[in-house]
């Protein structure tokens, strides 16, 4: 935790106060890209509802396509196709598993100018969610609440073809997935199932990489949001040393 505090301070100092607290005074009179919001696992587009309202107030055109949650390859392909229907610059935003989807979906699309990760996976080329999920959680944080015995965490709904949809058990959902938000909003947290073939990595430490959904609601550990510029996602295919990058914001 001692290492985290300076990072928090640096982040707040690096971001103009008007931006850090959500005011659009600096961004209200400039060219606005379209914003595409990709929800994560066990969620749907309604998880972005508050963000959508604020972005529209700020003058953005906002899209919230469904993340099919059928598998990373097909999910990414679907979102990539959706992005092809948008003319002009795009900021692509992903939450949780949605971060892995936007990373793949943006590849090769020159309109995607920035990727924003909201407590999300940001895999590099060749990395799998399983490999990222195998990283132990930060010191002092528990493994993901969905990393336990699947039969104790999920309700199973068989699908044609042998796959299974996984629903987080209703008894666990408020404390496991919707922790840290007020009770009425927990009920608003829409809950879509994931195909089990997608969810395998979630049997590991998954979200704890950023101290996410596994934390108890009383935890005050910070989570991470970030963005970086996307030039056809060149950093994914040809990572460059940090010292040689020009868009370095910390």
């Amino acid at each position: 935790m001692k290492k985290v505090i300076p990072l928090i301070i640096l982040a707040l100092l690096a971001v103009p106060a008007s931006v850090a607290f959500g005011s659009s005074s600096n961004a209200s009179n400039i060219v606005k890209p379209s914003v595409v919001l990709i929800h994560g696992a066990w969620a749907d587009g309604s998880s972005w509802s508050r963000v959508v309202s604020l972005l529209q107030t700020h003058g953005y055109t906002v899209y919230v396509p469904p993340n099919p949650l059928r598998g990373l390859t097909s999910d990414s392909a679907y979102i990539a196709s959706f992005l092809q229907t948008i003319t002009g610059p795009i900021i692509l935003v992903g939450h949780s598993y949605g971060g892995a989807v936007i990373t793949n979906a943006a590849t090769g699309n020159p309109n995607v100018k920035a990727l924003v990760y909201v407590d999300a996976f940001a895999p590099d080329q060749g990395e799998s969610l399983a490999s990222l999920s195998s990283v132990p959680p930060p010191a002092g944080q528990s493994p993901s609440c969905v990393s336990g015995d699947p039969t104790q965490v999920f309700n199973f709904v068989p699908l044609n073809g042998g796959d299974v949809d996984l629903y987080v058990k209703p008894s666990l959902f408020p404390s496991c997935f919707a922790n840290g938000i007020s009770h009425p909003m927990r009920e608003q947290s829409s809950h879509r199932p994931n195909a089990r073939s997608l969810s395998v990595p979630y049997h590991s430490h998954q979200e704890c990489l950023h101290g996410g959904q596994s934390r108890p609601s009383t935890s005050s550990a910070p989570l991470t949001m970030s963005f970086h510029h996307s030039h056809n996602c060149s950093w994914l295919s040809a990572p460059t040393p940090p010292s040689s990058r020009s868009e370095h914001h910390t």
């Binding site: 982040a11 508050r50 529209q56 953005y60 055109t61 610059p89 924003v116 949001m225 970030s226």
Partner: protein, 54 residues
């Protein structure tokens, strides 16, 4: 992951569904991304003609 990507990082004391509990923080980061892109947007942007979907 964010650090190795050389990303601009903002940390918020929140649980996983931060877009519900702290929507202003999320929008603030998107605004910051927009501001950082203005040089390229002025030269390459086109008007988005598709309708807003919320």
């Amino acid at each position: 992951m964010a650090q190795r990507a050389n990303a601009t990082i903002v940390q918020v004391r929140a649980s996983h569904l931060v877009m519900i509990s702290h929507p202003n923080a999320v929008v603030g980061l998107i605004d910051e991304a927009t501001l950082s892109l203005q040089g390229s947007l002025k030269t390459s942007s086109q008007q988005t003609l598709a309708p807003t979907i919320a």
